[in-house]
Amino acid sequence: MNPYNEILLDHSSHPLHRGEVADADIIFEAKNASCGDNIKLYLKLANNKISEVGFTGVGCAVSQASADIMLDSIVGKDYAEAEQACKDFLDYWQSGEGAEKIGEAEAFADIRMMPARAKCVTTVWRSFISRQNA
């Protein structure tokens, strides 16, 4: 098994959304204390939709790819849709069901079988939901 498939590696080495967003409306953090990762996420809103996204911070390939894929799945959506996208992914992570709803995030299917890496993947998705509720 090689969990580092092409999609995951593409998002980790050539992320679509790396970098700060100028004049971001919302900035929040996804911290993974156990490995010291600290990813900062930036969102800009326009017409009640998330119009621009970005992230900074270093971490493993898994956490970087997860941040990029998460942001890619919420950009262009309103809050409720974005939150649903995060919930769909976390439901899939929990149950293994609903892969058809999560798009490229299915790239984490092999990593999902490695419980030691769960936080690397899920932290950014959870951070969006907890930011919503804050």
């Binding site: 098994m1 590696l9 080495s13 010291g36 971490g59 493993c60 390939a61 890496r117």
Partner: protein, 378 residues
């Protein structure tokens, strides 16, 4: 020897001995037998079985004392190195003056750093380099310096080449020397010369989890206040007064991990010069082979712990790829975050060996390590 360790038969290639070692059958059977046929509490029962347990526990204490070259009444059973170090930080700092200071090295695991920071206002850090060599302690000692807390081996950088020299200088300057032997105990025989207190865990030296040893010099233990109060650590208790039991019992409040102690005694049989030599040879081979890979950065210089990074690959990803081929290593900050931050290393990979590892495992490990950058698309 590999057949003594049943977990090796699962096919795991276990390179994470610094976090916890595998357990031999003799240890597993001794703890199992205790619960099957010998289960009774110690120093409490008036029946035969309880007296037999007392004998076994004291026999274990004597065997461990003999191995360390000290007296049984200087051997305290704990739940692990962390408990031993907390007993010391609590008790020794209690005896410090307002402006007294202690020295802790940069190499310390959080277990030999945080208790001191918690109990002493003036903690000075003795710095080290990426090779694990410590700065000269003489430059730091002042008339107010009372204690040195130091690891005999770093859990990240392995052997510390000037460990002996550092504790000798500390002793000569009148400091109380506390040694965290959690890593060293499994891999070499320590001389207690220049060491006042020594703490280690059983589980890193082939013994059970949840048991450890704190060794202290008799005259110092007499003055050390206990951290825990409770059953069987007192001779007499009255309303408003109590009389502590003599050491080591005053430090063993409550029911001890008796099955663990009985298992731990068996684990000492594996601490032999032959095993020490074999694992050092394996670690040298691993270090030399890793050094030949241009994209590998190595930290430390000797000992069974081999820490490294592969350039541009996060250590957690390295560990995952190795895990896919059934190699167990540790990756991250290794509970020594201030060390890795100060040395500007950040998280790293750590392979830590034992005598039951072999050359074939190392060969496979090197082959696989060479492919990691490619697997990561680099």
């Amino acid at each position: 020897m590999r057949e003594d360790f049943p977990q090796l038969q699962t096919g795991i290639r276990y390179f994470d001995n610094a976090v916890t070692s595998l357990k031999p059958l003799s240890v597993i059977e001794a703890t199992d037998n205790f619960y099957r046929t010998q289960n009774a509490n110690s120093r409490r029962g008036l029946y035969k079985l309880s007296a037999e347990v007392d004998q076994k526990i004291e026999a274990a204490r004597a065997k461990i004392a003999n191995y360390l070259g000290t007296n049984p009444d200087e051997i305290i059973f704990t739940h692990g190195a962390t408990e031993g170090l907390n007993i010391l930080a609590n008790g020794l700092c209690d005896q410090l003056g307002e402006n007294d200071e202690i020295i802790v090295t940069r190499l310390e695991h959080h277990s030999n750093l945080l208790p001191w920071r918690q109990h002493c206002k003036h903690v000075k850090i003795l710095e080290c380099g990426r090779n694990g060599n410590l700065a000269d302690i003489s430059d730091m000692i002042t008339p107010r310096t009372k204690i040195l807390a130091i690891s005999a081996e770093s859990n990240v950088l392995g052997e510390i080449s000037n460990f002996e020299e550092t504790i000798r200088k500390a002793k000569a300057a009148g400091l109380t020397v506390v040694v965290d032997a959690a890593q060293a105990i499994a891999h070499r025989k320590l001389s207690l010369e220049n060491i006042d207190f020594l703490a280690f865990s059983g589980h890193k030296m082939y013994g059970p989890m949840g048991v450890g040893v704190l060794r202290g010099k008799r005259e110092l233990l007499q003055k050390l206040p206990p951290l825990f109060y409770g059953g069987e650590m007192v001779d007499e208790v009255h309303d408003g007064s109590l009389e502590l039991a003599a050491p080591p019992f005053r430090f063993e409040a409550g029911t001890q991990n008796l099955a663990g102690i009985i298992g731990l005694e068996k684990a000492f049989d594996y601490l032999t010069p032959e095993n020490f030599k074999k694992e050092q040879k394996l670690a040298t081979l691993l270090r030399e082979e890793l050094a030949k890979i241009p994209e590998v950065e190595l930290y430390g210089q000797s000992g069974t712990i081999v820490s490294f990074n592969i350039i541009d690959v996060h250590p957690h990803d390295v560990a995952t790829i190795l895990d896919c081929e059934n190699f167990a290593i540790r990756a991250g900050y290794h509970c020594a975050q201030p060390l890795l931050e100060k040395l500007k290393i950040g998280p790293c990979c750590r392979a830590s060996l034992s005598f039951y590892n072999n050359e074939s495992e190392i060969e496979d490990f090197i082959k696989l390590t060479k492919t990691i950058r490619t697997r990561m698309g680099l």
